[in-house]
Subunit: 225 residues, 2 copies
C-alpha cells in the first residue's frame, strides 16, 4: 500500500527554482495496475523516482506499507528498493561493460540468491532476448537494451514494479509482449505502475493517472482492452 | 540523392556473426520525407548509421550525391557529416557537462559560424525549450533531452536530417510539434528520414519503408495526414 500526501519536489538552479512536483496526493493499493501519462516535463519521472525510493521529496509524506519513507536513512531506502521494488529507468541505466545476462544477474548476486544464472536466463527469455545474452549494451539495439532493463527489474520477483516508459523504443509486437508480461505479473498480485505516452499502452491497465505541471490532473478507472 | 546497393553489415561476436543488414538497396531523392519502421532489432539504427556516414557497411555501395561513401577517409566522412547531415541519435548522445544551449551551439563552434548564440537560441525555441537553455542533461526530462538533440541536428541547417526515434519519449502534443517542425523543414527542401515505431507518426510522411531482419520488407508511398 502506497500513500502519498502533498508531495513536492523543487530543484534549485542558480536564481531559478523548478517546481517539478507541486503537491501530489494519491493512494495505490497492492495489486493495482496503473498507467501514468502527461506532457513531457510534467513531472512523471520525478514522481516515479519518489515512488521508487530513489529520490527524496522536498516536502510531504510517503507511507510505504505504513512506514514513512521520508524519514528513512540511505541504508534503509536501499533495503526497501532491493527487497520490494523493481525499477525500469527511462534511460535504461545499464552498465556499459556487462553482458545482458550479467546485468540481469547483478541484483541476485547482491542478495546471494541461489540458481541466479537460471533465473536470469529465464528473465531474459521472458522478454524475448534469449539469443542476445552475451551482448553488451553497445552490441544491442535500443529496444533490446530496454528489455534487458525490464528483465533486470523483474528477476528479483519484487512486490512492486515501476517502469518509466518501458515501451518507448519498442515496435507494436514487442510492446504487446511486454504488456502481456506485465499483465501476467499483475495477475499474480504484483503491483505494476508505469509511465507511458502511448494511449494504446495505457489501455492495458485498470487505472490511468494524468500528471500536468507537477500536479495530478485526473485519476480514472479504466477497463483493460 | 542517395543510392544504396546491396548494403550489408555484419558484427562478429566471438564464434557468432550477427547479420544486422543483409543486402539493402534503395534510392532516396532530395526533398524526400521518409519514415523507416520495423521490429526491434531489425536493423533500422544500423541502416541510419550507414546513411548518416557514422558507420561503414561490411559490403555494398553507398553513393551520396554521386560520390562513393564506402571509399572515403575518416576526414572526408567527417566533412560530409558536418556539412550535409543533421543526425538525431536514438540515445540522444548529449554531453553530460554541457547546458542545452552549449550542446546546440557546439557544431556551429566547430564551423566558426557567426551569430551562433542567436541561432542556437532560435533552434531551442523551435523545439519548445526556450525555458530550459541553461539546464544540463541530468537537469532535463527524457523528452526534453530528446528535443535538445533534435535542435542540435537542425541548427547547422543541413540538407538532410536523419532522426532515430525522435518522438520516443514525447507525449502526443510534443510529438505533433516536432512532426510539424520536420514537415516545415521538408517543405523548404530538406530531406527528412526518421525511424519510428508509431504508425501515427509515420503517417506524416510521403513514404514508409519497413525493415525486417536486415532487409527492406516493403516500400510504399503514403498520403500525409
Ligand atoms: N535535476 C534537475 N534539476 C532541475 N530541473 C530538473 C531536474 N530534473 C528534472 N527537472 C525538471 O523538472 C521537470 C520534470 O521533469 P521529469 O523528468 O519528471 O518530467 P517527465 O514528465 O518525466 O518528462 P518526459 O516525459 O519528457 O520524460 C522538467 O521540466 C525538468 O526540466
Ligand atoms: N555492435 C554490435 N555488435 C553485435 N550486434 C549488434 C551490434 N549493434 C547492433 N547489433 C545487433 O544488430 C541487430 C540490429 O540492431 P539495430 O540497432 O540496427 O536494430 P533496430 O532496428 O534499431 O532496433 P530498435 O528498434 O530496438 O532500436 C540487433 O539484433 C542487435 O542486437
Ligand atoms: Mg520522464
Ligand atoms: Mg534502433
Amino acid at each position: 500500500m502506497i500513500t502519498l500526501r502533498d508531495i513536492t519536489k523543487r530543484y534549485h538552479m542558480g536564481e531559478f527554482e523548478v517546481h517539478a512536483l507541486r503537491g501530489v496526493s494519491l493512494d495505490i493499493h497492492d495489486g493495482d495496475f496503473v498507467a501514468i501519462m502527461g506532457p513531457s516535463g510534467s513531472g512523471k519521472s520525478t514522481l516515479m523516482n519518489v515512488l521508487g525510493c530513489l529520490d527524496v521529496p522536498t516536502s510531504g509524506s510517503y507511507l510505504l506499507d505504513g512506514i514513512e519513507v521520508a524519514g528513512m536513512s540511505e541504508d534503509e531506502l536501499a533495503t526497501v528498493r532491493n527487497r520490494k521494488i523493481g525499477f525500469v529507468f527511462q534511460s535504461f541505466n545499464l552498465l556499459p561493460r556487462m553482458s545482458a545476462i550479467e546485468q540481469v544477474e547483478l541484483p541476485l548476486s547482491y542478495a546471494r540468491t541461489p540458481n541466479r544464472r537460471q533465473l536470469s536466463m529465464a528473465a531474459l527469455e521472458s522478454v524475448g532476448l534469449g539469443q542476445r545474452m552475451f551482448h553488451k549494451p553497445a552490441e544491442l539495439s535500443g529496444g533490446q537494451q530496454q528489455r534487458v532493463a525490464i528483465a533486470r527489474a523483474l528477476v528479483t520477483q519484487p512486490s512492486m514494479i515501476l517502469a518509466d516508459e518501458p515501451t518507448g523504443n519498442l515496435d507494436t509486437q514487442a510492446s504487446e509482449e511486454i504488456m502481456g508480461l506485465f499483465t501476467r505479473l499483475n495477475e499474480q498480485g504484483i503491483t505494476v505502475i508505469f509511465v507511458t505516452h502511448e494511449p494504446e499502452i495505457a489501455a492495458h491497465t485498470r487505472r490511468i493517472l494524468t500528471i500536468r505541471d507537477g500536479l495530478v490532473q485526473s485519476d480514472r478507472a479504466n477497463t483493460p482492452v
